[in-house]
């Protein structure tokens, strides 16, 4: 009894628990914030600093390079670079194809899996999740071979049907890389959406059926609106992930000349740092990518919270 009385007083002081104080909390938080500072904060600050400076050689280009403050000049140069702007446009196009295909595919598959007549749900879940256990590098490698004439059963089968497609030419290579992304991420999101569907209250669906709504009608007008919150989180992570596009194009670039060394912004930044040795521009490009991610994720969060309210 005495203990209980004590507990309530403790709780009334505002959930202060075991040891409470800032010092205990610090013990638990310091390791994380130490690595966070090294791996997140310091790089962002350092690249901000770098992006406002430039290496300039004096006179005829002999002697030590000097670091000079140049303000926004690096950003201006990055945006004036034709290849960077093309990369951004390509990434935009990639998003426009990839996001509807992947998210739409995931929603469709999850709804099918949740249909009353679906069989062997667990097996399908496992199979559909399989690609996520395949690292991005390996996924890109597998598909690179599946796109290569002579080795690929896919190209062979299409040729057998009289269709000649070069998956790696300059027109097809973007959709071909989209397909790798779709293959890698659809199943992952199917599992998220399917679990969200499982939480849809059964009474609602039962009531709809009594009112004469068929399976498809129920899926579109009842289930789909109820998984919108899960869908908005998926959109958020998909956009952040898509902006990072690097692994797949850099693997595919070895199989075809259609993917250039500056194909997407991340490749551009890599190229700037290690091929052109212009670290300041590379830093500016990194900041632009991070800024783009921040703006887009803010937009998605705003939009989805407005949608959830209404």
């Amino acid at each position: 009894m005495a203990t209980q009385a004590l507990t309530t007083t403790v709780r009334r002081r505002g959930r202060a628990l075991a040891g409470t104080g800032g010092r205990t909390a610090a013990l638990f938080l310091v390791p994380f914030f130490a690595v966070f500072a090294i791996a997140m904060i310091a790089p962002v600050i350092y690249s901000l600093v770098l992006s406002f400076h430039s290496q300039q050689k004096s006179g005829l280009g002999f002697g030590e390079a000097k670091t000079v403050f140049v303000g926004l000049e690096n950003y201006v140069q990055v945006f004036q670079s034709e290849t960077f702007v093309e990369g951004i446009a390509r990434l935009g196009l990639y998003c426009l194809i990839y996001i509807p295909c992947m998210v739409g595919g995931a929603v469709a598959f999850a709804l099918l899996l949740d249909a009353t007549v679906a069989k062997a749900r667990k097996l399908f879940q496992l199979l559909v999740f399989l690609p996520h256990a395949v690292p991005g590098v390996i996924a890109a490698l597998i598909w690179a071979y599946l796109y290569t004439p002579g080795i690929s059963p896919l190209v062979q089968a299409l040729q057998g049907g009289g269709i000649q497609i070069n998956f790696l030419d300059s027109h097809m290579v973007l959709p071909s890389i989209v397909n790798i992304g779709v293959w890698e991420w659809t199943g992952y999101n199917v599992i998220i959406l399917f679990t969200a569907l499982q939480a849809v209250p059964r009474e609602i669906l039962e009531a709809a059926r009594v009112d004469g709504a068929g399976e498809i009608r129920a899926a579109v007008s009842i289930k789909f609106p109820l998984i919108l919150p899960a869908l908005s989180v998926i959109m958020l992570f998909t956009i952040i992930g898509t902006l990072q596009l690097f692994t797949e194009p850099s693997i595919i670039s070895k199989a075809t000349a259609s993917v250039t060394s500056t194909w997407v912004p991340n490749l551009w930044a890599y190229d700037a740092a290690f091929i052109r040795h212009n670290l300041n521009q590379a830093a500016a490009a990194s900041i632009i990518i991070a800024g783009l991610a921040a703006v887009l994720s803010l937009a998605v969060t705003r939009l989805s919270s407005r949608m959830n309210k209404s």
Partner: protein
């Protein structure tokens, strides 16, 4: 099965809406047969089979392709067995550069293992503190963590390389190991797990008995959060195993590379030298087997992890 292990927010059972947790049993009973005729059953399951085939066939191709030598790879039909050369291919992979491939595999296990075990512990401790302790600037610190979730990893890789070269740490294992310990999303997940798995009352009781906060974390909190810890560790393991850009940028010494970067180097060789192709394919297969096994064995954990991360 999957749904019942989910760490949902604690709602008292009597007020919670009845959920379709065991959906199979109560939805495929005799009463629901009205819902689907033979045609719809065929359509739904047919589409599911087509979708799953799209997911599985590329991996199957990898399995078949790894049993072929270079000549059969280009010569025979993709899903036919040529001369069965799997073991020969594995032997070639093992021989190349004095067993370098297995060194890569070992490095991947080391990077991903340390990242998963230690990195998740760091995240779990922080998430636990955010849930259970009161301290100043709690909300703004947590806000920082959430911003960290949103910063694309690849945007920090190049600056991190530059920082590492300032202190002379590039081309060491630390250049990969330290960054992979940072998992802001793990902190977010851990906070959720701590709220749903560790009752405040238990910790209070421990305090009454004289246990300090650190002791009660390691002897009570952490064991109670173990399923959450394993989930976070599993995802971190996969994340580090799949990481490509960070080791690519940081490491030059081939002996330090993880298998993802190593294989991509072989792929580069295979363009002028096609005899490398079977080794790239067999190496790819060997490198995904550990992950496939982990995923199949730990199904319960990744399912619960995916749900906590997004449905909440």
């Amino acid at each position: 099965m999957s749904a019942s292990t989910l760490p949902r927010p604690r709602t008292t059972p009597d007020t919670a809406t009845p959920r379709r947790t065991g959906s199979r049993s109560n939805r495929t009973g005799p009463s629901s047969n009205r819902g689907g005729g033979f045609a719809s059953k065929l359509t739904v399951n047919g589409l599911l089979i087509i979708g799953s085939a799209y997911m599985v066939v590329p991996v199957l191709w990898l399995v078949f392709a790894s049993t072929k030598n270079a000549a059969d790879l280009y010569g025979t039909s993709a899903y036919a067995l040529g001369n069965f050369s799997l073991f020969e291919n594995i032997a070639n992979v093992a021989k190349q550069d004095g067993g370098l491939f297995f060194r890569w595999l070992g490095n991947s296990v080391m990077y991903a293992g340390v990242g998963a075990v230690l990195g998740s512990l760091i995240s779990v401790m922080a998430g636990y503190a955010f849930d259970k302790f009161q301290f100043r600037w709690k909300d703004s610190l947590f806000g920082f963590v959430l911003v960290g979730v949103l910063i694309p990893n690849t945007a920090t890789v190049l600056p991190m390389y530059l920082l590492a070269s300032l202190v002379g740490m590039t081309n060491t294992i630390w250049a990969v190991l330290i960054p992979v310990l940072c998992n802001p999303f793990g902190v977010y997940l851990a906070r959720v797990y701590s709220a749903s798995y560790v009752p405040a009352e238990t910790l209070e009781a421990a305090r009454m008995d004289g246990a300090g906060p650190i002791r009660s974390f390691f002897s009570l909190g952490l064991p109670m959060m173990m399923p959450g810890y394993i989930t976070i560790a599993l995802f971190q393991f996969v994340g580090v195993w799949n990481n490509f850009m960070l080791p690519l940028v940081m490491l030059q010494d081939q002996k330090l590379l993880p298998v993802s970067v190593g294989i991509s180097i072989w792929q580069g060789y295979s363009v002028p030298q096609p005899e490398f192709t079977p080794m790239v394919i067999t190496g790819s297969l060997l490198s995904i087997i550990p992950l496939l096994v982990a995923f199949i064995m730990l199904q319960r954990f990744w399912k619960s992890g995916l749900t906590t991360g997004s449905v909440k």
